[in-house]
């Protein structure tokens, strides 16, 4: 091939103009009143963002900054004056002149009930944030009775839409069941699942686009399932672990963490967290290495990391075993 006009490679190319990046879309400011305070936020902000901007801590379970809100948990509901129902703060956008109450008796009652219903039926022992909400709202899930014993393995997975069970008055209905362990990388303990949908979102269009899991069943029988409830190893799963990254209750857990917890050796007080860059491909995902006793025990990624917003692939999430083999 001919190399006409080949540039002189030994001379540095002169410095050009700075890149021209598209300016941020101008947003008008909208004024609303939250808990008596006038707050000005950009148009399009959610009530959650507005509340956070003035330091009001609104609880969330199914919301995460890197996922599309699905409005299922209802823990973030707030009262908008003039609205018949409570509204989910995570997705309701501000409108001029809105008057919002985030801590009214009605809001507190609603949040408490949501927490009680969930905690009465789900094991929240590995969900510290959830427990903190329970304390904050004085939730007493035990008033629904002691939780029902675990369902026999496979029973909940086999329930079909439309089959309703007669209530069993001696117990609180529960989703307890045996832990699913079908691969070496992570376990699924759906007795701890509050059906927040985050894992489904992360597996779908919000991150991985693999669609290995979805919600199957209806009502109290609803559960997260692979297609036809096949083991993960027969599913479309690519083991990115982004579902573990977003799970708020520990229902999805690294096998390493699960086994250490079983053995009683998991001790977060002895763990350090260090941000570094994944050793594999050229994307440059930030890994937060959780280290205990000079061994990596878990890997996460910060949500605000601008390269992949907290999402990883199988190599970054799980490909560190060799460092522990000394």
């Amino acid at each position: 091939m001919s190399t006409q006009n080949a540039p002189d490679l030994t001379t540095p190319v002169p410095r050009g103009p700075l890149p021209i990046l598209p300016p941020p879309r101008p947003a008008r400011t909208v004024e609303i009143t939250i808990d008596g305070k006038v707050v000005a936020v950009p148009e399009g902000s959610t009530l959650l963002q507005a509340a956070r901007s003035v330091g009001i801590d609104t609880p969330t379970l199914c919301f995460l900054e890197n996922l599309t809100p699905v409005n299922v948990c209802r823990i973030c509901v707030v009262e908008v004056v003039g609205s018949r129902t409570l509204v989910p703060a995570c997705s309701r956008t501000v409108e001029p002149g809105m008057v919002v109450k985030t801590d009214s008796e009605r809001v507190r009652l609603s949040r408490r009930l949501v927490l009680e219903l969930l905690a009465s039926s789900v094991d929240v022992s590995t969900a510290p944030q959830f427990q903190e909400y329970m304390r904050r709202y004085d939730a007493k899930p035990e008033r629904f009775g002691t939780p029902a014993p675990p369902a026999p393995t496979g029973e909940r997975d086999a329930s079909h839409p439309g089959h309703h069970h007669a209530p069993e008055p001696s117990h609180a209905a529960a989703v307890a069941q045996s832990v699913k362990i079908d691969n070496d990388l992570y376990v699924r303990d759906y007795g701890k699942c509050i059906l927040c949908y985050k894992c489904v979102e992360a597996c779908g269009t919000d991150a991985q686009n693999t669609f290995a899991i979805a919600v199957a069943g209806r009502g109290f029988d609803a559960r997260i399932s692979t297609e036809y409830n096949v083991p993960l190893t027969d599913s479309a799963c690519v083991y990115c672990g982004n579902c573990i990254g977003v799970c708020p209750t520990g229902a999805l857990m690294f096998r390493s963490e699960y086994e250490m917890r079983q053995a009683g050796t998991w001790d977060e007080s002895k763990q350090t967290k260090t941000d570094t860059i994944c050793p594999y491909c050229g994307v440059g995902c930030t890994l937060t290495l959780q280290v205990q006793d000079e061994k990596i025990v878990k890997v996460t990624s910060p949500l605000d990391q601008q390269v992949t917003h907290g999402h990883l692939c199988i190599k970054g999430r799980f490909g560190w075993e060799w460092v522990n083999q000394k």
Partner: protein
């Protein structure tokens, strides 16, 4: 990329294999291996025929257009269809979509660069960006997606035969003098050998000692028989690595090194030129030392005391010598989650895209040249004895020669296989799980058959992840691109022979 598609972007995938990316594409152009230039030239010709070129950009910022226009004249859609095996209509559609887009990028990986004419392949793609002006502006560009966390950083730091850190050319006397002054030493004034050049030099007896840091050429180089012969012929082989790789096993001296990403402090540069901090999260095992420590100790033994610098001190030395890194203090890298070079001073924001100078009027610096790349077939020709085109690549859960990834248990992993189209399976009378001998002009390996409907008849696929199980690189050819030094890993002529064994192959 999928986020872009969800936002309405159109994706065209040009790949001999129907990959999972292809499933998201507007159109998949499943071309024959090694026909990229024919396709690119046909796209260029179609853009010109349809009058969709960016005339003002061509006039203001490029050179060699007239010659280029003549050069691509023969690459009609029909001619390309014949060479590439891609319908003319698909090529036309790609050309129009690319030229008409407000912003368009061409991204590629090793399918373009692991060929004996790798640089020509890249130049043929650059031509398209120059023709349409899809370069040097936000959202557009030509983008080689890097396969390793610091392959960009290696180049940035001068691990290239002709460059000092910051891409400063070693044959530029003034630039070389700057480094000589800072380092108090003389630097050879001529460029050195790239990797393949080093193996040729070993063959000529000119290179007799090799110091390998963090690379596993015994498994990763093409034509492994030759590689092993040459590595064994060295007077001395020194390997510095985090793990005992095949190359390390052959070495006279091994320096066990800390894992750069978690047992050590420093920086890496990702595919978007973002310099990022790596940090020490745990201590290295006993007897294993940081790369910096090893190198400085070695220098001391060789009679030069370089002190005991920290990674930050070394980085600051680089900032003094490399203008494109000057503004990247550790504090800024920390605060801004990394910075993209060039970053000339501490107030510089870093640059999200390069080549904006091509849009300055008048243009800053030299014009960007069109290149006349000619379609040439792969070196390892297909014939009756070697009728199958083997292309090699990677799988999601594994990494290169598997030194790191073979040590975790991936449910996706099924070991090495020779992937064939179901049609070829039928043609050659082999079934899934049957072990066959795969024979090329250089070697033969045994591997179980796996059917992949994403492969077209005539195309076979293997990886290099399991060299202890199947030494795929015994098959590959060391036909090297003279400009980049890359071997043609992507195009090997093979045949398969039945051997009569069967093993279970998980899907």
């Amino acid at each position: 990329m999928l986020k872009g598609i969800h936002n309405g972007a159109k994706l065209f995938v040009v790949d001999p294999r129907r990959t999972s990316s292809a499933q998201w594409a507007e159109k998949w152009l499943g071309l024959h291996v090694g026909t990229d230039i024919a396709l690119a030239n046909a796209v260029a010709r179609e853009i010109l025929v349809a009058g969709l070129e960016n005339r003002s950009f061509i006039e203001n910022a490029t050179s060699g257009f007239t010659e280029f226009r003549q050069h691509v004249e023969t690459y009609t859609l029909e001619y390309a269809e014949k060479l590439c095996g891609v319908p003319a209509e698909s090529i036309r559609e790609l050309a129009h979509a690319y030229a008409r887009a407000d912003r368009a990028q061409i991204c590629w990986t090793l399918g373009i660069t692991e060929h004996h004419n790798a640089v020509d392949n890249v130049l043929a793609l650059i031509n398209l960006s120059l023709l349409t002006g899809h370069v040097g502006c936000y959202g557009s560009g030509v983008n080689p997606l890097r396969g390793q966390n610091n392959v960009q950083g290696g180049g940035d730091m001068g691990a290239l035969p002709d460059r000092l850190p910051g891409f400063q050319h070693v044959e530029n006397d003034a630039l070389r003098a700057k480094f000589e002054k800072a380092w108090g030493t003389t630097i050879p004034p001529k460029k050195g050998w790239h990797l393949s050049g080093m193996f040729d030099a070993m063959e000529r007896g000119e290179l007799k000692g090799l110091y390998v840091i963090g690379e596993n050429p015994a498994n990763s180089e093409s034509d492994q028989h030759r590689t092993m012969k040459l590595l064994k012929s060295l007077d001395i082989l020194v390997v510095q690595d985090m793990l005992m790789s095949k190359t390390a096993e052959m070495a006279d001296v091994v320096f066990p090194a800390a894992a750069g990403w978690c047992e050590s402090e420093g920086t890496v540069t990702n595919s978007e030129r973002r310099v990022q901090r790596v940090r020490r999260a745990l201590p290295p095992p006993k007897g294993v030392r940081d790369d910096i420590e090893i190198l400085c100790d070695l220098a001391r033994r060789m009679g030069r005391d370089l002190g005991n610098p920290t990674s930050e001190e070394l980085w600051n030395e680089l900032r003094n010598l490399s203008p494109v890194h000057a503004g990247m203090s550790y504090a800024r890298l920390e605060a801004m989650q990394g910075l993209q070079w060039p970053c000339y001073d501490e107030n510089h924001p870093g640059e999200q895209y390069l080549h904006g100078r091509l849009w300055a009027r008048p243009i800053v610096g030299p014009r960007a040249p069109f290149s006349c790349a000619t379609q040439v077939p792969p070196v390892d020709a297909l014939n009756q004895d070697f009728p199958l085109r083997l292309t090699t690549g990677r799988r999601l859960d594994s990494y290169n020669t598997g030194v790191q990834t073979s040590r975790y248990s991936s449910p996706l992993r099924h070991g090495e296989t020779i992937d064939l189209s179901p049609e070829d399976g039928q043609k050659y009378g082999v079934h899934e799980g049957e072990t066959v001998r795969v024979v090329s002009r250089r070697g033969a390996v045994k591997a179980p058959v796996r059917f992949d409907p994403g492969l077209r008849p005539g195309l076979a696929f293997m990886t290099l992840h399991f060299p202890d199980q199947v030494a795929t690189n015994e098959l590959t050819i060391d036909a090297v691109d003279p400009k980049s030094g890359t071997s043609e890993f992507k195009a090997t002529a093979v045949r398969i022979e039945k051997v009569g064994d069967t093993v279970a192959v998980a899907d």
